[in-house]
Amino acid sequence: MQKINREVLINKANELLSNGTINRVFGWEKGDFSYDVTPTIYFTADQMNKKFIFDDFCGANFSKYLVAETKKDQNKVGVFLKPCDTYSFNQLLTEHRFDKEKVYAIGVPCDGMVDEKKIKAFFGEGISSITSEGDEIIVDTLYDGVKKVKKADVLQERCQNCKSKKHVYYDELIGEDGEVLDSNRFDEVEKLEKMTADERFAFWQNELSKCIRCNACRDVCPACTCEKCVFNNPNSGVENKSPANEFEEKMFHIIRAFHVAGRCTDCGECSRVCPQGIPLHLLNRKFIKDINSFYGNYQAGEQEGSRAPLTNYTKEDLEPSEAVNKGDN
């Protein structure tokens, strides 16, 4: 397969901008270092030539930005979507969060995004540059010279367990489309399920106690597009600005996961952005795993307009008592 580089994407965007299909396009912007890519919006090919980047650190998913952006005017917005981004895109369409007629979606391939935190965990701080060469990542460090690492070892967790390389929505696809993959994404959940309740409690107590309630997980989440979150709403009765204690940490994360249950596409953004490194995706994946095993496989976002499991039922659904005992032997 031909490697899709930034020039191909810039050319495509330029073509769409100049023929009037779109008047602006969401794209990634290179930063001061090799890894601090920022999502931004471009109005001209010139801007793109200067700042656009498409590399191993373009993890940011633009789908959620479309909710606000498409409401601004009548022009079409262009957007680059990686396979997993298209699931979020579809889910937002299902929930009527924006009008797809106002978006021109350009599907771009993805062979996994690199987690700079993992690189730093390997080599420590002080990274001068990161480049990729085949399946290797070459890291130039401030103190220890040039190091190499297998890309597979420093991929983001969500990419190591990639569920699909297939675009479920696009107006135009660049490169060839991939397949839905068999992933091991539930392994970690299963590992936790196999622990005793006490061990699980200790695990989550430790993880969730790190939470600083910065709301990054929620604010980046493409399923969290509420006009006003219940946790921000003084009238909801559950509003709080910071976790005053262990209960509030749990409350926030349980309710957040519940609110996106059946709607979460497992894009993994929550865990990627958590400044405290809490494996939040393990909460969402538990719901996904349960939904799959209780009500049949369901992938949110796979099909526009599909009915989420929590807004559906069958007369033969299992009882809550059976649900909690399912993991027991």
Partner: protein
């Protein structure tokens, strides 16, 4: 801040026996918002109610808590009391300290403590109560019945007899439905036409009933009491008000080769036709698929012979908008297609027919004038095999059949067998069955007569295969009781095809936002207690659109549906339940989660313009609850992730306050 009055009832010794009512009243005095606390022997008595009324006035109470028996008992009573004293009835909360406290606890200390908690909980809730006003909406005093079979006819007649206008919409050129095609009816063997056609005439002549035949419902808007319906009246190319139904055109039309659907294609009719002699309205209809004039512009025979000048080749479909207070679905049923049942050779042999076709063969007005002959060669069949449950009770063959029992087949098959033996005693009749189900008045007697007096052979077992061999049919079946395989020759095989809801039901249900089960039968509001109402307020169910039924059952259900409609139309205004869902449009995302879980279709969406920051405007999709339709279950409130949806009278904050008060 509320000014709350607490009234603790003794209920004689029922409460006071295990709860120290005075201590409860004393303790609740200190709760936030409470300005008055009293106790009395019987709060629900006249004197007790007066005590409450006086306290409301004297202490300017804004809310009251009555600690008494279950709200299911006296909530209504105390709401009226409050209302009489000028307080909004929904500012009343009941603490159930009898059924859920004094009656189950023996220890006074324990009972008293719990009663205080329950009182505190009710106070916490009433602190957050807001006056609620039940919305009112006018009722359009006209009903729409969709479907003109026996179900629709009976419903329409009953409603019209009560003095309300009724419109019947029927897709066929005539009303009458399936019953008009039947020969005799079980278990009395009276002729279907003899009992149906007078009713059809009654409908035609009733001043309160209007029939839209050859028409269909294409759009339904509005809600209970206020439906707006668009009816499409298809062009029949004959002026309905002028045609006398003389039938001359139907004799002169040169296009003779049109399969006659009334006789299930077993004979032909003309391109202009009247379905049957007693059709209502008795008006000719031109079939545009076959009329040469309409297709090529050359012919015009019917126009020439029509002395009334009723033919109009330029007629167009007409759309009529009408308002209704209630809608009755009576869309009926059809036998399922036999195409997929290859094992029964329905498509291969003309002599394998369905029971409905058999009805026409036996009918004096049918294609053979009532003479039972084989469709293939016109010969009299010597040996007839009836196969029951074809496509019914068929869990394994869901792709072609139905899981449910079609309910009527056992009885009509017994009828067919009996009639055959009665008319043609030389004919050998065998019925293959899984079970014979006869739960109806005089049903079992009827079946036993067929088996015992008329010598019909009943064999318990399924037919595996039917294959044409020469001019005979070979029936391979199993006899479960004798535990052996049977090979049997037959001249005619009659399949008791399962029945399914008419195909028009599904799109209609969508228009009505009425729910359906997986088989496309309409769902009842409650399977036991509200069997003729759909969960959608103002939509009622009559006949087989709700489930398989025989004629007596259909008629009684039709009457029940009519009674419900009359009850609704008799009201000038509908008072809603004020405890309904409400969406805060500032918080709503328009995500449709609430709409999906609403059992009543009470939620719709609209694009609304909002003022954005810095003098911008933006359009957002938001949910709207129709308070006349919402029944107040609250399912939407949990489906809503943003908490925009709340339930009046059971608001999230109120419930959380109750939780807090209990757990304190």
């Amino acid at each position: 801040m509320q000014r709350i009055g607490v009234f603790v009832c003794w209920c004689g010794s029922n409460i006071a026996g295990t709860v120290d009512v005075k201590a409860v009243a004393e303790a609740l005095k200190n709760e936030p918002g409470v300005v008055h606390s009293a106790n009395y022997q019987y709060m629900c008595s006249q004197a007790g109610q007066e005590l409450i009324k006086d306290a409301i006035k004297e202490h300017k109470l804004t809310g009251i808590v009555v600690c008494s028996c279950s709200p299911r008992m006296h909530e209504g009573t105390f709401r009226k009391t409050a209302e009489a004293a000028g307080l909004n009835p929904y500012m009343v909360e009941i603490a159930n300290i009898r059924e859920q406290c004094s009656w189950i606890h023996k220890d006074i200390a324990e009972g008293t403590e719990k009663a205080i908690v329950l009182g505190r909980t009710a106070i916490a809730k009433v602190n957050l109560n807001a006056p609620l006003m039940a919305g009112e909406s006018p009722v359009t005093k006209r009903a729409l019945v969709i479907g003109g079979g026996i179900a629709g006819i009976q419903t329409a007649l009953d409603i019209a007899d009560a003095g309300f206008e009724v419109d019947i919409v029927e897709t066929k050129p005539t009303i009458g439905g399936k019953m008009a095609q039947l020969d005799k009816t079980f278990p009395t063997l009276d002729c279907a036409a003899c009992i149906l056609t007078p009713k059809m005439v009654d409908v035609a002549q009733h001043e309160k009933i209007k029939i839209y035949s050859y028409s269909e419902v294409v759009d339904v808007r509005g809600f209970v009491g206020n439906f707006e319906v668009t009816i499409k009246k298809r062009a029949r190319f004959v002026k309905e008000d002028i045609c006398t139904g003389c039938g001359l055109c139907t004799e002169k039309c040169p296009q003779k080769k049109v399969p006659n659907e009334f006789n299930l294609g077993m004979d032909n009719r003309r391109a202009i036709y009247i379905p049957f002699a007693q059709a209502v309205p008795k008006v000719a209809t031109i079939d545009p698929n076959y009329c040469t004039m309409l297709k090529t512009g050359k012919c015009g025979v019917c126009a020439k012979v029509c002395t009334a000048n009723a033919i109009d080749y330029t007629q167009k479909d007409e759309f009529i908008d009408q308002k209704y207070g209630a809608i009755v679905a009576a869309t009926g049923f059809n036998p399922i297609s036999m195409e997929k049942f290859d094992e029964f050779a329905y498509s291969q042999s003309k002599d394998v027919i369905t029971s409905l076709e058999f009805e026409r063969l036996m009918n004096a007005a049918g294609p053979t004038a009532g003479k039972l002959v084989r469709p293939s060669d016109g010969k009299h069949p010597q040996k007839i095999v009836f196969v029951q449950c074809v496509g019914s009770r068929c869990a394994a063959c869901a792709e072609k059949g139905k899981e449910y029992c079609s309910k009527i087949c056992c009885m009509y098959t017994a009828k067919h067998a009996m009639l055959t033996r009665d008319k043609y005693p030389d004919t050998d009749v065998t019925v293959f069955y899984i079970d014979v189900r006869t739960p109806g008045k005089n049903f079992d007697e009827f079946y036993r007569r067929a088996a015992e007096e008329y010598g019909v052979h009943y064999i318990k077992g399924m037919v595996g295969k039917i294959s044409p061999e020469g001019d005979k049919l070979m029936v391979r079946a199993s006899d479960l009781l004798a535990n052996k395989q049977i090979n049997m020759e037959a001249d005619l095989v009659v399949l008791a095809a399962a029945i399914e809801p008419d195909k028009s039901a599904r799109p209609l249900a969508t228009m009505l936002t009425a729910s359906m089960d997986t088989n496309d039968f309409f769902t009842e509001a409650h399977p036991k207690l509200r069997p003729v109402e759909s969960p959608t307020a103002g939509v009622f169910l009559s006949g087989c659109c709700q489930g398989p039924k025989d004629i007596p059952e259909t008629v009684s259900q039709a009457g029940a549906a009519a009674a419900k409609v009359i009850g609704l139309l008799a009201k000038d205004k509908l008072k809603g339940n004020p405890c309904v869902a409400h969406s805060d449009e500032m918080m709503c995302n328009g995500c449709s989660s609430c709409e999906k879980v609403c059992p009543y279709g009470a939620i719709t969406y609209e694009d609304k313009e909002f003022r954005g920051p810095n003098r911008t405007t933006l359009i957002r999709r938001i949910a709207k609850v129709n308070e006349a339709i919402c029944q107040g279950c609250g399912c939407c409130t949990v489906a809503c992730p943003s908490g925009a949806m709340d339930l009046k009278g059971f608001a999230s904050k109120q419930i959380m306050a109750e939780v807090d008060a209990i757990c304190k």
